[in-house]
Assembly symmetry: C2
Homo-oligomer: 137 residues x 2
Amino acid sequence: MAERSSELSPAELEVLNVLWEAGPSTVRQIHGHLRRSGRQVAYTTVLTFLTRLEHKGVVASDKENMAYVYRPVLSRGKVRKTRLKNLVEQLYDGAAGELVLQLMKTQKFSPDEIEQLRTLVEQLDEKKKRGDRAVEG
Amino acid sequence: MAERSSELSPAELEVLNVLWEAGPSTVRQIHGHLRRSGRQVAYTTVLTFLTRLEHKGVVASDKENMAYVYRPVLSRGKVRKTRLKNLVEQLYDGAAGELVLQLMKTQKFSPDEIEQLRTLVEQLDEKKKRGDRAVEG
DNA sequence: GCAATCCTCCGACAGTTGTAGTAGGCTTAC
DNA sequence: GTAAGCCTACTACAACTGTCGGAGGATTGC
C-alpha cells in the first residue's frame, strides 16, 4: 500500500470539515463541535485524528496558552478538486458530462444558481456554435 | 467500525468496473483485463477481491465448466448515486449547487451534452419563473 | 498545598485493505 | 497415466482506520 499517506479517511475529513467551518480550534472545541452535531466520539479519538492529519501535512498547530490550536493547511477547494477527479475517473470513465447531467436532473437549485447555470450554458452554447461554424466553413 | 461491510474499497471498485464494462467474466478474464490496462496485480489478488465482493453481496458467481463466472449484482448507477451523495454531504454541505457550478466551469462537454444541458436549464428556468410569479401574486 | 481539571503522548486493539504464496483438486495433451 | 496447466481455498502479513484508556505534566480553585 504505497502513497496513501496523503489521503484522507472519512473520519479525518469530518475533523477537517470542522476546521474549515469553525476556523482554527483546539481539540476540545472540535470535540464539542462534533458532539453537538451528533457525532459521539472520545476526546482522545479526535486528538488521534488531528495528530494523523498533522503528520500528513493537512493541518498545522501552534501552542496557545495551554492547548494547541489546529488550523487547516489544505483548502476545501483542493480536496474538492481531488475527490471530484477521483469520482469522475472511477465511476464516469473520466468524462464528467454524464455526472453533470445526473446532478441537474436529481438536484434542487436556488434561483440564483439557476441564473448562474443559465449563463454558463449560454457561454458553452456560444462556443459550440462557433465550433460548428468552423467545421462547416 | 460498524456498517462498513457493504462499502467498496478502491481496488474492489476497479474489479467491479471491469465487470460492468465487460459483463460476466472469469477471474482470469478480469485479471487479463486489468493487466492490459496497466494494473499489475497477481491472479490470486483479483480472486481475493472477488471473494470479498461476493461476501458483500456486490457480485455473484456461477460455476461454468471449469471456472466460476462472476457478474455484478450492484449496478453502476446505484454506486454512482451513493458515492455522489457521500461526496455532496462530505464536501458540499449537502447542497449540490456549488458542485454543478464547479463542474460546468472546469469540464469539457460534447455538443450533444451542451444541448441537453440547455434543455435542462430551460426547464429549471421555467419552474423558477412560475415560482417567482407565485411569490409575486 | 493539594485535589480536581485539562492537556498531550504513547500504546493498544480489532477490523479493513492491498497483496500474494502455497496446497490440493480437476483437465488435458501426450 | 502422468506431467503441465488451470482453478479455488486458505493463510498470511503489513499498513491504514476507528476507537480509546492510562500515564504523566501543567493549571487552578479553594
